[in-house]
Structure formats: C-alpha cells, structure tokens
Symmetry: C2
DNA sequence: CGCGGGCAAACTGTTGACAGACTGCACTTG
DNA sequence: CAAGTGCAGTCTGTCAACAGTTTGCCCGCG
C-alpha cells in the first residue's frame, strides 16, 4: 500500500522526491494487475472492503475501469499474500483475522523487531541513532500535544526506520506484510492517550540500548515493546474467539467451512447480490 | 506446495492417508490456477526451472495443458510470494537470491525457530517431546548409516515439527516460505557427513532444553542451530556477491535493470527464445 | 405448515483472440 | 568500418465470450 511515502525515515530531510512518478511512467512500468492489486489492498486496509466481505470480480472490474483478468490476477496475488481467501466457484473473501492469529502476528513482529534492534545495536551509525532519537523526540512532542494521529504516524515511522536500518529488505517487507495483516483485524486505532507515554518510554529504551551497542538489551527492549503492544491490544479486546477463515491452504480441518461460515457474511443481513449502486 | 503431506511430524506412524485426494476431488476443490502455481513452484524448487530463467507463459501453458490465464494468475501469486519477479512487457523470471539475502533469510529463520522453541518449552506435551526425540533418534540412526538423503529429509521433518508444534499456522507458513526461498539460492544439498553429527547434537540440545522447560535456553539453542547452519552455509559458499534481482517492488535503486541485468540471462549465452523442444 | 425437488439467475473458471511493446537482426549511412 | 535506423518476430497485456457450478427462490407435496 504505502509505496511512495517519503523514505520512511525522513525526520530531518524532506526529500523533495526528484523522480516524480509520472502517470505515463507508472503505466509503462507497473502492470495493470499490480495497480489493481495495490488499489484493492488499499481498499481493504482502509476498510472500504470490510473483513469477511466478498470480493465480486465483476464489480471490482467495472469499479476500477478494467476487465476481469487483471482483477483476477490481483486477487490471486493478494490471496498468496494472505489478505484474501478464495474458494473455488464461490469467490474470494477479505480475510478476517482471528484473535489467536493476531496474537501470533504480534509474536512474529516482536521477533522481527528484536532481530532488527539487535543488529542495529552492532551496526548503527551516528546518523541512524540521530534519526531514531529525532523520531522519539517528535513522538514525545506529539504526546505532549495530545496529538494521537500524529503519534500514530510517527510510531509507524519509528518502527519502519528500525526495520529499514536494522534489517534487510526481506525483513522489512515481511514486517510490513505482517503489519497489514494486523491492520486487517480491526480498524480501531489502538493508541490511547495513557498508552503513548508508556510506548514512547519503551522507544527511548530501545534507542538507548542501540546507542549503547548492547545487542542483547536492544533486542530485549524491542521485543518487550511489541509484547507490550500485544498486551495492550489484548486488554482492549473484550471480544473473545472471533474465528473466521484463517488461511485457506493451512487449516487442517475445515469444519467451519471456507467462507465466513454458513452464517450471513454481512452483519446487516445484506443479501448476497447486494445492489450497491454507486461508489460505495 | 506440500498441501496434503502427512501431519508433518509422522516419525512413527506411516499415516496411511485415509482421505486420499481423488483426482476429481482435487479438480473440484482447487482452482486450476492454484494447481498450476503448485506445479510451477515444484518445478522451481526442483531445479527444472533454474534461477534467473525466464518463464514463458505460452510454453508453460502448453506444457501444463492449460491456457495462459491460469498460468498468469499462478505466476502473479508466485511473484507475490517472492519466488519470481516480473517486469512489464518483458516477462517473469525465477528469482535469483543473492548471498546477502540468503544470509538474511537465515537470520529470519533463526528468529522464527527460536520463537517456536521458546514457546514449545512452555507448552510442550509429552507427545511433543516424544515425537521430537524420536526424530532425533532417527536422524542419529541415519547419520550412523551415513544416509545423507534420509538425514536431510528427517532434518526437514524435525524443523517442521518444531514450527508446527511451537508456532501457530502463520508462523509455520512463514517458515516454509522462507525455506523455499532459501532452496532457491542453490540446489546443492548443504548437508555433509561431518556436519550431520554437529547438526544432530544441536537438535538434541534443543529437545533437551524444551524438555527441561527452559524457554530461554530452548530459544538460544534453536537460534544457535540455525546460526550454525548459516555459518556452515557461509563457509561452503566461496562465490561472493551474487547480486541478482532481489525483489521488484523493494529495490530502491534499480540500476542493474529489472531483468537478470542487461547481460545475457543464461550463463551459457543461450539466446532468448530458447527452442527447448521436449520436456527438458 | 414444513420440506424436498426443480428452476432460474448470477458468478466464477477458463479459453481464445487482438493490440501494444520489446528484442534482435539486417541494412543503410557517415 | 562503426553507428544509427528500420523491420520483422515473438511475447506479454488486456479484453470479450463461453461453459460449469453454486446459490437462492419458488412451487408442489406430505
């Protein structure tokens, strides 16, 4: 989704973006299917396509102004990526992540973050440290101003910077994918005022350990930070077992049925062939 | 790929596979595109499609007896999965993993294995311990018999069992994907006689730590084991920087060109439209 | 009144075909 | 003789159409 955001770690340099992605250049470079995939992914992450909702190829095609071919390819890619699940002759559904899986993803992210922090503790340059410290400072500023959205964005930047500088490209992509899956679970921003202070204190601890060159401490701090997020998430998540279709090729026993169960997919009881007229 | 294998941890029970996947049943359940994807993935992993090789949609289509549509969908999925890279109007190439990336994947696998071991140390049942110990015993047996292939397979089973029992389904799938990517690097089996003893000793250490319920020790042992594999891999890998196309949407600067560089793709100087007549 | 069978609609799966783009080669030209 | 240019071939990207299957509804029957 977030392909063209500033270098992810731009706390100091605005990076004027010399190579502006011309529309024509985009068309020449990216395939239509990849564009469609990007668009659908954005829709899913934005909530336009709710979790568990059915993806109608034809509707998506006309909505995006393309044929069904690219849409199918895009959906297939998203399926492999874990954002949607498909069943033959029935359709594709936006994957609904269960609570158990969300917690598992937290563990995965913790491990990845710890890995990046440990590596960063050994290889961090002065610029790296400065960038991270600047982000922490800006987050602290946002916290004082009680600007939750700003803090949220900076938090994302901080973690992205951690992974970008401490991990390789593969690690970074993996982290982003996991983050997307987690976003899928619930839209609600889980950043609350009283959490910001605790969260940023942990951030500072991570940076301090990295600056000290203590790989073990940095790793522990990074993991503890994500674990804290997991704990906060758990505490705010009253709804218990929310078992939806996890991932098609994985579920050993497919008791509840591949689609969002036999029960009606949409909470509103909307019939299958919903006659959505306009854009939404 | 390996959808219908026995429970991954079948060291004792041959598992007669009661639910035999009837061909008709397969056709009814899995989409043609997923079958094609499975087949192409198998080809890539088996080496039939060499790393860096170009994927001709038409040839693949006729070779698999389907049209180009499913092939395209499959390739798109594999692209998202990281096994192939595609450039518009030029084609898809089997991804060639650079040495740096292979090492990074080792780190990732180490983190994942450590995570699974740590969790397993706290939650392992008697059956889990027995299964793991049985696998270690069988590996020791294979080592004594100097049966490298058997050891190799059992080693895979051991690690799969570790992940299956210690991690959730997401973790398991991730580990498998990373393993596939690693397989992509080079075909050569990196299991050598003198390594088997060391390797299995580490296995035994992991199981012992798990049995003792020491999460930290189990995690350290698991990570050290993968790190040892990484080290062994590094020592046997004389070829230095082997920079191929890493991952299309990731590479920040695309200097060397998206395809396997401007230089001839095939080392043998094979012309682009290779006229491979038969099955290969 | 509940239930099973049958029917129709919609959607997905797949295929074939057409247009555009890139590659490589041969030819012309300075 | 080298470099640039034009051309043909092949392949990918995209689209439109056909067939098979599932789903939901309606009607007849017990």
């Amino acid at each position: 989704m977030e392909d063209e955001n500033p270098p992810v770690v731009a706390p100091t340099m605005p990076e004027p973006r010399l190579v502006e992605p011309t529309a024509l250049e985009i068309v020449r470079t990216r395939s239509l299917a990849s564009l469609v995939a990007q668009e659908i992914e954005a829709m899913i992450l934005a909530g336009t396509l709710a979790a568990g909702e059915r993806l109608n190829e034809q509707q998506l095609a006309v909505r995006l102004g393309v044929s069904r071919g690219p849409v199918r390819e895009a959906v297939r890619g998203l399926e492999r990526s874990g954002l949607v699940v498909s069943v033959r002759n029935q359709g594709s559904y936006v994957r609904s992540v269960s609570t158990a899986e969300a917690l598992e993803i937290y563990d995965l992210r913790a491990a990845l973050t710890g890995l990046a922090c440990a590596r960063l503790a050994g290889t961090a340059s002065a610029a790296d440290r400065a960038a991270l410290e600047a982000l922490v400072a800006r987050m602290d500023q946002a916290r004082r101003a009680d600007d939750a959205p700003a803090y949220y964005g900076l938090n994302l930047d901080f973690h992205a910077a951690l992974l970008a500088r401490g991990g390789g490209p593969r690690t970074r992509r993996l982290y982003e994918d996991l983050g997307n899956e987690l976003h899928l679970f619930r839209r609600r921003a889980l950043v609350e005022p009283e959490n910001m202070r605790e969260s940023n204190a942990e951030h500072a601890g991570i940076v301090a350990a990295i600056a000290a060159g203590d790989a073990a401490a940095a790793r522990a701090a990074g993991e503890a930070h994500i674990a804290g997020g997991k704990r906060r998430f758990q505490s705010t998540d009253a709804s218990a077992t929310h078992a939806g279709p996890t991932h098609a090729p994985d579920s050993a026993a497919r008791d509840p049925g591949p689609p969002p169960a036999k029960a009606p997919a949409a909470p509103g009881g909307r019939p299958r062939r919903a006659a959505r007229s306009a854009t939404n």
